[in-house]
């Protein structure tokens, strides 16, 4: 079938891209792995697309800046997976990225696109929340990722604003982390629920994916983990979840899985003994 014939502009500089995006109704497209699906389905009906691929020279990079890492918006998931810096200094992000699609999706899909689509099931997002990531807008300003995400597909951005990167502190060598994702099959499946966890002495981060209108952090679960209470943390995760029922899973199931995935992650990180003495089923 032919698509509605909408113009596609391919700017050569960030400044030019921002100029084009000032026009109401335009939308940026990077790897297209979300954009084309939504365009074909008629969910997104832009008046023109602004194709960002020619900005890769400017916006595809993985940079170390002291304790911080910065990733350009057009960096693909394949590039993130291949990066020794990401594997060693942001292992949580590496684990999350490994679960995105298959190779063909990871070759085109970008981290900026995953943020821009703002799906609660975006697989890199719980990791970015747990890393307290800041999103770079227009190459100059930063906004906390939780502040940026308003709801499914909705971002706190103005016309002409473009996500240009994301930055976060590198993980400490002594911390442990995991990303647990539940889909309808092991590979190449959208999340029904997911959880990103980081643990270090006196520090815990818990972020849930696909169980609320946006990814959410769970401060009560984090406090429980710092205090060493795994079952209480799982209960807090279930309490915080605000899932929907859809064709893939019921809200009740997703809520239960939010807690179970956290427990599964804790066992994977720390061994079964952390959880079992406290009492198995959090329900």
């Amino acid at each position: 079938m032919l698509q509605a014939d909408v113009p596609v502009y391919t700017p050569a500089t960030l400044a030019e891209a921002r100029q084009l995006l000032q026009e109401p109704g335009t939308r940026p497209v990077a790897g297209g792995t979300d954009a084309m699906v939504r365009f074909k389905d008629g969910v997104w009906r832009p008046t023109a697309w602004v194709n960002l691929l020619r900005l890769r020279g400017e916006l595809a990079y993985i940079r170390e800046d002291g304790d911080w890492l910065e990733v350009g918006a057009l960096t693909t998931f394949s590039e993130l997976l291949a990066s020794r810096v990401v594997r060693e200094r942001a292992p949580l992000l590496a684990k999350a990225v490994r679960t995105v699609g298959g190779p063909a999706i990871r070759n085109m899909g970008t981290i900026g696109g995953n943020i821009g689509t703002a799906s609660p099931a975006g697989d890199s997002l719980p990791a970015l929340y747990a890393l307290d990531a800041e999103v770079l807008v227009n190459g100059v300003t930063t906004i906390g990722i939780a502040e940026l995400m308003l709801g499914p597909g909705r971002l706190k951005l103005q016309a002409g604003d473009l996500i240009t990167g994301v930055r976060f502190r590198a993980q400490a060598p002594d911390e442990v982390c995991t990303f647990e994702k539940l889909g309808l099959r092991a590979a190449h499946a959208i999340s029904l629920a997911s959880v990103a966890v980081r643990l270090a002495p006196g520090m815990a981060r818990v972020a849930l994916g696909a169980v609320a209108p946006t990814v959410i952090r769970v401060p009560d679960a984090e406090a429980a983990l710092v205090a060493g209470h795994a079952a209480a943390a799982a209960a807090a995760a279930q309490e915080a979840a605000r899932p929907i029922s859809d064709v893939r899973a019921s809200a009740e199931y997703r809520r239960a899985m939010a807690g179970n995935l956290l427990l599964r992650g804790l066992m994977r990180m720390l061994g079964p003994n952390l959880v079992s003495p406290i009492g198995g089923d959090p329900r």
Binding site: Q3, D5, T10, V29, T33, M36, W49, S78, P103, M108
Partner: protein, 154 residues
């Protein structure tokens, strides 16, 4: 717009709608119907081709995004005299083909996997073939075929 690409080693210039999927350009404008459109949404891998040396879902690439690209489709794998590429030959010999609808995507993913990792483990083969669905559910012989091809390409 006029789209210029290099497809299977040949320069092409073809009039397209800028948002038209690369898959449609290949199939309907260039007559290269090897890549299939089973889902059209990046869910199944049936349209897998190589663009600039990497596998992509051709159904999700806008024509305008393929400007200047090097594209390799399954039609470009066999030698000019028709002799199958070792990956194709291995799929034949392993009996990996059932209904065949997913096959060209499977072959392109296997070709790309073996380019990047000539000696994949069983787990690496499964990871490398992620995103290619076979609704006959005949995965084991596909993995056998990739293994066989790896042995011959070594």
């Amino acid at each position: 717009m006029e789209l210029k690409m290099n497809v299977n080693g040949q320069p092409v210039a073809v009039e397209v709608a800028p948002t038209e999927p690369l898959l449609q350009v290949l199939r309907e404008r260039l007559g290269l119907v090897g890549a299939k459109e089973p889902c059209g949404k990046g869910e199944c891998g049936g349209c897998t081709v190589l663009m600039n040396g990497q596998t992509v879902n051709a159904c999700l690439v806008m024509a305008a995004q393929a400007e200047g690209a090097e594209v390799l489709t399954v039609e470009g794998l066999a030698a000019p005299d028709g002799k199958l590429h070792p990956v194709q030959q291995a799929f034949v010999e392993a009996g990996a083909v059932q209904c065949g609808y997913c096959m060209t995507g499977m072959v392109m993913s296997a070709f790309s996997l073996l380019q990047q990792n000539p000696q994949p483990t069983e787990a690496e083969i499964k990871e490398g073939m992620e995103g290619n669905l076979c609704r006959c559910t005949g995965y084991q012989k596909v993995f056998d075929a990739v293994n066989l091809a790896a042995g011959r390409l070594r």
